[in-house]
Symmetry: C2
Subunit: 218 residues, 2 copies
DNA sequence: CAAAGAAAATGAACAATGTTCATTTTTCAA
DNA sequence: TTGAAAAATGAACATTGTTCATTTTCTTTG
């Protein structure tokens, strides 16, 4: 698209350009949707680019037109996951009592993790190769940070309301997040990692109940 | 080695056989040592069988004479790790006060994890492919189970001593393990996963202090 | 010590996968 | 209709896990 073209096609110029842009976005979204579906079905490690391409009837090369490499696909889904979980956590700010909100946040986080184990893996467990790490931009992590900030803000409000006396804000936040994350990752691991050593049914629910009792009394 | 050989070589039969067996064990141990070194240096995912073979001046094929596949190497190191950590935990049974022992166990566990992040990854985080999971034998998991049993026994003794009133044993054990595991995996992840979002210095130590305060008062 | 047979070690070769890029096909303004 | 830009393609390459026929080394025996 050079200057001559630009001058001569003023009329439907924007229409076509915009449609093309939209189609590009749509195919990008289609690839991501297919990738996510396969990740859930057969696991991230077992999903190949060829699988993704085949499942949407495009060639391998096309996938590489829309995503630089496999990591960029992981990265895009990673972002989707944080937007999704972060959104669910934001909604909880309608709960005014910070202690109640904190309890609800834990519940939402755990539910998200156990219902979307592959996404949870991608977001919090999987170590992507070096290249992936280096391409992460500050603003692309904002959603991830926002989730942690939701927790931090809520714990701060709990302290202001007289809870958690004798505890330090940031270490306590890290401890709480560790608890919740630990439960999710141990449970997800027990489901997929060692099929012969399964956690007891409802162990996470029961442990979370213990967690609620403990923080209620702090 | 057929019947004829057996009958004719009675004298140094055992000597040679034993030496051969020992040499086999030594080479197996050498391969594992090299694998572990490379895992620590460049990460598990970045270490190839060729790397391992090269580093000890053997051919690729030789590695496959001693280990069926890469998973068997991971599996052997996995076992080593559990023996090591489990041994450290067992020593703590010299501490008679169960609450003090529980606190010490957390410290030992965390120290092990942060000092041996690649091993910790292998033992508690990494999801190995299906084949690996299926080859795990019950008795090979005894060391892993023993570690959890150490925790369970200790928490039980705490309860018998009057602690943790109103809590259930197994969910509480799972919660405690989740806390400790969560701290380790978040810290290990923050060191390797996203280089630009590092945890604050000493966050694990500080959070573990909060943990100690909390369980002391339960 | 020499030779045969067993054990160990080897590395070429294959399959699967991520990735690249020259080529082909499609689209669209002129 | 046509030619250039955009999009799609898939052959081909590099890497890695893995296999196995062949070679080398070791051990026993005559």
């Amino acid at each position: 698209m050079n200057i001559v073209h630009f001058l001569c096609t003023e009329i439907d110029f924007m229409g076509t350009i915009e449609r093309k842009a939209r189609e590009k976005e749509e195919l990008k979204a289609l690839i991501l949707k297919a990738a996510r579906k396969l990740f859930v079905e057969k696991g991230i490690g077992q999903t190949t680019i060829r699988n993704i391409a085949d499942s949407i009837d495009y060639s391998i090369g096309t996938v590489y037109v829309y995503f630089r490499d496999k990591n960029e696909i992981l990265h895009a889904l990673h972002t989707q996951g944080f937007v999704d979980l972060g959104g669910q956590l934001k909604v909880l700010f309608n709960v005014k009592d910070p202690m109640e909100r904190l309890k609800a946040m834990g519940k939402v986080y755990i539910t998200y993790g156990l219902n979307n184990p592959e996404m949870y893996d991608l977001m919090f467990i999987l170590k992507a190769p070096m290249e992936f790490l280096e391409t992460i931009q500050k603003d692309e992590w904002d959603e991830g940070k926002a989730s942690f900030d939701s927790l931090r803000t809520t714990v701060k409000q709990c302290m202001d309301a007289g809870h958690f006396k004798g505890h330090k804000l940031d270490p306590l936040c890290f401890l709480i997040w560790s608890c919740i994350h630990g439960m999710c990752s141990l449970e997800i691991g027990s489901r997929t990692k060692n099929a012969n050593i399964k956690n007891p049914e409802n162990i996470v629910t029961d442990a979370y109940d213990e967690f609620l009792i403990i923080i209620s009394n702090l």
